[in-house]
């Protein structure tokens, strides 16, 4: 592979990785900190993506703006899902883990089928001034849609890091991850903290879902591919760290992108899952684990 192609792939990979980071942050909180086996996370992102498609069809809105607006109902959705999960599974104990997993798997599956029934299996996309054009810097062409996606992604990551470290609720979410009993002894209700945390995580999924359709057209089956990517990233990062999540996402983005421009491009879908298996088998605490 010549050098120019490699640099091209590296840059594209970093942009792709930034977007992966946005998609994984919600899961880093929901699964990494709150310990909810949220297999349906990418399915929720896909709902956000289709939401952006609909909002453009109805009101002609920009997808990123739609994502911001959708964050509100998604927060409510997250609160509702967590409350339900808590009363039905978390409180029951013993084999709640198994059933909780089956529950989220079922939710992801049902979401996919509903999308198929509503939109068909064809790909859907959006229009925006930055889609289809590229920033030309000498030898390099950087597609604007990737620049926008990773820019917004970085903004999400920054906001998330600030929220977790500076605000009362954000710090409570980190505390609940460390020791829920101690938190309740201090007079804070761990369930309420987790509910808010899950709501925020789901709200961020609305925005990253909108980025999903900025990056490329979407189809109902897409969520399945992303399950591997987001869990690979979150596990690789070591559960729950924002910086680690972004780094792991950039790493995956670069690996995939370099592979896509190599002779073994058709093996790319297996990369994220292979990485995930390798991490699970060799270093379950992740690269940047606590």
């Amino acid at each position: 592979m010549d050098l120019e192609l490699l640099i091209d792939a590296l840059v594209a990979g970093l942009l792709l990785g930034g977007f992966y980071g946005a998609l994984s942050l919600g899961l880093a909180i929901a699964f990494g900190l709150l310990d909810v086996p949220h297999i349906a996370h990418p399915a929720f992102a896909l709902l956000g993506a289709y939401g952006a498609v609909l909002m453009q069809g109805w009101f002609g809105l920009d997808p990123v703006l739609s994502g911001l607006i959708l964050a509100l109902p998604f927060y409510a959705l997250g609160v509702a899902v967590y409350s339900f999960y808590h009363t039905t599974f978390e409180r029951r104990g013993t084999d709640a883990g198994l059933r909780g997993l089956a529950f989220f798997f079922g939710v992801a599956f049902v979401a996919e089928v509903i999308l198929i029934l509503l939109f068909g299996i064809d790909q859907r996309g959006v229009r925006a001034p930055y889609i289809g054009r590229a920033l030309v810097l000498g030898e390099f062409r950087l597609p604007w849609r990737m620049l926008v996606a990773s820019g917004v992604a970085l903004a999400i990551a920054g906001a998330m890091a600030l929220w977790l470290s500076r605000t009362y609720v954000g710090r409570a979410v980190q505390a609940v991850a460390q020791d829920a009993t101690a938190l309740s002894l201090l007079g804070a209700d761990p369930v309420r903290v987790k509910r808010i945390g899950f709501g925020i995580a789901t709200a961020s999924v609305a925005l990253s879902g909108a980025l999903l359709v900025v990056v490329g057209p979407v189809e109902p089956g897409l969520a399945r591919i992303y399950i591997g990517k987001v869990f690979a990233i979150v596990v690789l990062a070591g559960l729950g760290s924002v910086g680690g999540t972004v780094l792991a996402a950039l790493l995956l983005g670069v690996i995939e992108s370099v592979m896509l421009s190599s002779p073994v491009a058709s093996w790319t879908p297996a990369v994220a899952f292979g990485l995930l298996l390798a991490v699970l088998g060799l270093r379950p605490q992740g690269l940047f684990g606590r």
Partner: protein
Amino acid sequence: MRSWVRFAAGGLVVLLLAALAARWLANDYLFFAAFVVLQFVVLATAWNILGGYGGYVNFGTGAFVATGAYAAVALQKLADLPLPLLVLAGTAAGAVLGSALGLLTLRLRGIYFAIATLAITIILETVVLNWDYVGGARGITLDRPHEDPFFGTYNRMLVVLMAGMAVVAVGIARWVGVSAFGRALSAIRDSEDAAEACGVPTLRRKVQAATLSGAMMGAAGAPLPLYLSFVDHTAAFGLNYAVSAMAMPMIGGTGHWIGPVIGAVLLGTAQQAVTVTISSEVNVLITGLLLIGFVVAAPRGILGWLGR
């Protein structure tokens, strides 16, 4: 001992009925439906050995079915082996995948194991997509006999074969349920640390359970390409296998060998009816909703209603 005699007699009756039906019933679609439902009896029973008894959720049923199916396809194309050897090869391939999965990931608990099974599915699907010998992305058409000297058509014979596999699978699950092996798995499900502390060799039992479960799924996958006389990655790796094989034990009840059978017969039949009368999308939607509904409202399944 008496109960085993009764079970064997029941199994024989099922087989005899299947053979008689295959000999004299006319409607070919019924046979396809029966093939699918019987395949699901095997898959749900196999899933339940690891998932229901052991508490380890396997999202990768599709990977095991496809492993059995493609092992049969490759060997049939390579050497045109007779059917029993193809099924044996599928079983062996499923067992190898099961023990590999077990060794690699059963040190992981809960969600990590489940996600790893999902990962294996996608990786194997990518392998098949890149493996031209078995058709790659286009799929492969199989050259197999159409007639059978006793049952008329080859497909009818495959239905009887699948009925036999279902009886054997349920027999195995029944044995596991009452054996020391099954009790060790239940102990692992309830508390792995406590089981380990009581001297249960947890890792070995889990790998054994994964191997057994994988072998049964591989066996159920082997006749699939022969029945369809065509197979591609979407047919073999279908997500429907993963969801149904999990939904059926959950619906029937995971604690007892009859649970997956009840779930597979009820849900499998309903799926066939809905696919024909409405559409296959609605069919998978109903499967998903039933899975959620039972997991939420009836954690012990239909057996729970019956007080078992």
